[in-house]
Each structure stands twice: as structure tokens, then as C-alpha cells.
Subunit: 409 residues, 2 copies
Amino acid sequence: MKTIEKTTCTVLSAGGVTTAQGFKATGLHSGIKKKRKDLGLLVSAVPAVAAGVFTTNLVRAACVTQNEAQLLAQPYLQAIVVNSGNANACTGVQGDQDAKTMRAETAKALGLADDAVAIASTGVIGVPLPMAPLLAGIGQAATTLAQAGGDFFAEAMLTTDTGKKEVAVQLLLDGVTVTIGGAAKGSGMIHPNMATMLAFVTTDAAVEPAALKRLLSRTTDQTYNRITVDGDTSTNDMVLVLANGMAGNDTLDETHPQWTEFADAFRYVSEKLAKDIARDGEGATKLLEVVVNSAPTEGIASVIAKSVIGSSLVKTAVFGADANWGRILAAAGYSGAQFDPNLLDIYIGSVQVAQNGMGLVFDEETAREYLLGDHVVLTVNLNQGEETASAYGCDLTYDYVRINASYRT
Amino acid sequence: MKTIEKTTCTVLSAGGVTTAQGFKATGLHSGIKKKRKDLGLLVSAVPAVAAGVFTTNLVRAACVTQNEAQLLAQPYLQAIVVNSGNANACTGVQGDQDAKTMRAETAKALGLADDAVAIASTGVIGVPLPMAPLLAGIGQAATTLAQAGGDFFAEAMLTTDTGKKEVAVQLLLDGVTVTIGGAAKGSGMIHPNMATMLAFVTTDAAVEPAALKRLLSRTTDQTYNRITVDGDTSTNDMVLVLANGMAGNDTLDETHPQWTEFADAFRYVSEKLAKDIARDGEGATKLLEVVVNSAPTEGIASVIAKSVIGSSLVKTAVFGADANWGRILAAAGYSGAQFDPNLLDIYIGSVQVAQNGMGLVFDEETAREYLLGDHVVLTVNLNQGEETASAYGCDLTYDYVRINASYRT
């Protein structure tokens, strides 16, 4: 697995969904939320090749169902409209109709065909979408699009997130500069596979549609589907990627000599957004990363990493800076993966706490100091193979309980 | 599914593992814990038919492995020794040896063969069992066994539990009174299948060994495996049942005309203990019960009930008395079960909050009042079949985080 450090792309010090050529965006307060921005609009100057991945929840919001059907019919998009504050999920026939209206009115305001527009909603479930403020907001947004509007767009997506999640990278392909940027939101109901998680990635690269779809699918498996905040999978999650080709590179697919470089850069953007979501999990005080090494298969490594990252007992122990490694071993054990627990070593940061499945005498104070940091890496070496996988999450805190005990009120 | 009200057995106002004829027990402080009782001993006057179910965690404590092997070899036991404060898990070869010594010394003190004794440990993982106080305690316990000692035994099993979990019932079989009693402990790392959960059930009924095993297995699926506190499955869980035959009934198996009555009474005992564990989940303020009705199969009903009971978002909403039914629907949706979400109705207590997969206008204040109670029932009617299943859990609270952020310290 490639790590960030090995990626050859250049990470820009600032940037997001409008850093790539030809993308404009905006974000504003339409009135769905009380005060904060709640409506974002992102538009490409030309039609873009598009791909999407969507929640696996059987209960799916209208925006998810409609976008998926639309991308199956034709893999092109030119705009994304997103609202926060209301998920338009479990809202029945009215919800379907409202989603269609949201799409149609956006298309109309931009002079596009309906099926050039993707829609996304996030927020409370089961309450009808307030259409009057939403539609007025769409009209206003269409007139305020700007290349500098990426930040506003990223802000307008947020629900209980404490901050924007944006990233942009550049690399040279065929001698031209290609940019990939993205914006995402978390931060509760986050769990593989997908969650109340929205991520939108834009690039000016030219990419062949089927190759873009395969790349998104594989990358999602290794990034967005490796993050857990609370084990809940939402009704509204999606990742959309738009590639408008304005950089002027030769169209990319897996046979292009620089495909791997592009795929790595795309992965960097996705991993950065995924980690930012995990770090900003509801109530989180730190980013928690679980690395499983020397596994027989990547599948086994991934199942164990996801099990440990999802353990409430591990998460509370990390919050309390308690080096309770037995919980890590227990979570590996109930993951469902087959392995020999008697070969397993565990590290908290660089402090080895278990060897061959048993506890070591270790410096509790050093481990505690490390656990007090804002990025905690727990490493499990299975010592029964060559494969590796990581998962990302956060600690479980009083604030998670506070936030979720009264989300609607 | 039988509910408690339909059971024909008599629930005794007090009672536990020593209520059935021929059982004595004790519990004392041996010195594994700082102050509280940490060693329990339960003995039958005669060899008892025995059956057990054990954690599905790949990482299993020595007590689990050894008991399972022993019961496979011969389904009889005469004593159970249990310590709390130390799980003797992830303790390697030394842990195996310590478990054997714990068993052998108990057998010696009681004048029994080693394989007539089952052992159980619960508490912190990865720390060697303090053998000196344990063995001294075993010697002392063997001299203080009493018919009145069931309460002490139930107390000695506890870890972060806030109270004892005991029950006893009686019924007439073949014209003689048969008693079934039990004791259990929770209360973190509780999740299907099994958890840091110990339950010991004793009866003076005569039961055929294979029938007892089948009954325990089926009942465990419908009771202990339906409770969730935090989604973590422990290394040490077990349920053991001892049937010593001293009531003098004809030996029971599925062909006995009163088998169903016995099975229902056994299930009552198990369900009572399971609910008590859920109600006393770490930090819990209330018992949460999820009932899924009108499902195509019991399997589907059970998968959905377990998914809803395990949702951190549902659990925090219940803690906050917030009638956020969208989270119930979302948890049903990501359960993995196949159903049509558009047919589904949801009730919080008797307040219907959703119909045909959509929200209803309901009296928020009535729902809130109900959610403030100490026993909350959430009902999901799928309206696509005849089958029913329940799951039991608790709310997710600040105290869960507090308890688990500093368990070892």
C-alpha cells in the first residue's frame, strides 16, 4: 500500500474543488439551517466524465437513488448541488419529487439538461425538504459562482463537522499540469461502507469513463470505506468525481504510462479527505489509525483493522490515554478473520506492548504520553504474511454522547 | 416467540444458583481485587449433566478453551470456580498452566476429579493471574459452602456491574417440583455472540445430556446472543448449565410430554439474566428493547433487531430522550437484511412515529416522556411476514465513556 510520503504529486498549501481548471462554486445560507451555510453549488465549464459510489444502506435517500440511476445511464455531469440541514431521506413520494425538483431547478438556473446535475442532501432524516428557501437559494447560487468559491462550497456541506475538509494536488501528465481537488464532510454515522459522508472530487484531467469508475471504486475501498466514527452507515452517502479534461492531457486509462501516478494522486486526495473526516468524527479529540501488517492477505488485514478501529472499548481507552492493549487483541479476535493470535505483536506508537499474543512489560508513562497526542497509530503485526491494511477513526468521547443525545433539538 | 407473561413457571421472589436442590455456593474476597469479592465457588452434591456455550472470539482465554474441551470429552460437571478482577486471557503458556492449576486445586479442595470442575475468569486482559491469593481463596471457599451462599457467588462474579443478576423459577414436572436458577454478570464487552458475560444456570431436573446441549444452544441464540452493550465480544464469555437430577423427575428430552414447559422455564431464566445484563450495561440508565415484528423469517427479524440495538446513534438518542426514529430506520437499512423499507412502521413505546417508511406527525412530548423511562421498547413492524425477534441493550451515556476511558487505572 502506498503511503502519502511516497506519492509523487505536489500537495498544494490550499485548494479544493475549484482548484482544477474550469470549476466554479459557491456556498450560501438559504434558510434550511438557522444560520450557517446550507447550500452549495459546483459547476464545470464543460461536461465532465463522472463516476460515483453510493451508500450500501438499504434505506437510501432519493438523491442517492437518482444520481446512481443517472450515472448508469450516462457517465457525465456538469454540476453538483448539495444542501445540508436536511437529508431528504425517508420522505417517501414527496421526497422523490422534491429531489427531482431540486435537480430540475438547478439545471434550469444553469441552462443545463436535468441529467447533467447531481444532487446531494445531508442532515436530519424523515423531515420534508423545505423547498421554498432551497429553490430561492439555488437561484441565488447560480448567480454567485466563482473560482474562489470552493471554500464556501466546502463549508455549505457541513453538518456537525467542526471544520472544512479540502485538499488539492498537482502532477505533470503528458507534460501538462493536472490538478485534482476535493471537498468532503463527515462526521457522525460514519462507517464502512460509506456513511453520512459526502465527498466530491474534481479534476481537469481527461479520463476514460470506465477507467474513472474502476479507479473510484478501488480507491473508495482503500480510503473512505476504511473510516469509522460510530459504526452507523447513513442513508445519504456518496462520493462523486468529475473529470472535465480541461488540462489537455491524453485521455487516461490503465494503459497510459503515467496511470499509476494519476491513481496515486487520486488516492492521496481521497485518503486525505477520509482521514480529515475521521479526525473530525463527532466529539473526537484525535485521529486514530490502525495499521495491520504481515497478514496473509490484504482482506484479512483490512477486516482486522476495521474491527479494531470500530471497537468502542479501544476508542474509549484511547480517549482516556489508557494503554489497554488487551482490547486491541480482543477486537482482532472477534473480527471474523482467521489468524493465529499467538504470533501477534502490538505497538502503541513505537511502544511494543504485546509479543506473541501476550503482554510485555512496557513503559506505561511513555505509552500514556503518546496516547495523549492528537494522532494515535496502533500497529498490529500478525507475523503470518506480507500484506498490510490501514483503517482510520477517532476516539469515543463525552462529546460524542452529548452531540448525539440531542441532535434534533 | 414466547414472552415472559406466557410462561407457566412460577418466578420466585428471590433465588439463584443454589435454589435448586443439592447446590451450595460461596463467594469471598481473595485479594485479586482491592476490596470487593472476587472468587466464587458453586458445587453440586452429585455429578450434574452439563452443557456450555463459549465465546466466538478467536482470542480465547484458557478457561474457555479448557472447559470446552472438557465438556466435549464428557458432559458432566460437579463444580464451577470463578474469579473476577483478572481474565487470565492473552497470558500465553503461563495462563494455560495457571488455569489448569486453578482447576486442579479446586478439585483437590473438594475431593473431586479435575474434570468435574469448570473454571471461569473475568476482568483485565493480559495480566498474569495472581495465583497465591487465588489458591488461598479456593481453599477457604471450599470450607464455607452453603445453600445460602448463592448471593455471595453471584456477587463474586461481578466486574463493572452495579448489581447482582439472579433468578430462580419452579415448575411441576411428573408431579415433582423442579427448580431452575441462575446467576450472571455483564457489563462491558457485551455483544452477540457472547461477551464479557458469564452466566451459570443450575437445575435439579434430570435432563438427557444431548437434549440439554441443544436446549442451551437454542436458548442462547434467543437470549444471551440478543444483548448488546457496546459491540465488543470478549475473550472469556461462557454460559454453563448444570442439571443434577435431584428433583427426581423422569429424565427430560424433547420427547417428554412436558419438555416445552421445561424449555420455556429455562428460557425465562436465560432471558431474565440477559435483560438484567443489558439493563446494567456500562453506564446505562435504561433497558432498551427492540422488537421486530411481521418479518418474512425470524433470521431477518433478528438481524434487524440486533442492528438497531447496536447503533450508537440510536443508543445516544435514547439516552437523550430524543425520538429520532430516522436512526432506527437507518440502522434497519444497514443491517444487511433484505426487506422493503417502504412498508415499515416504527413505534416508540405506543407512539407511532413512522408509517410506510416515512415519518408521521406525532406528539413529541409524549414520546419524550416515554423515552425518559427506565425501560424503552422500540418496535419495528416490517409488514412483510409473520415472524418476530427481540434484542436487548441499553443507552450510550457519558458514564460508558467515563468507565471505559480508565478501566485499568
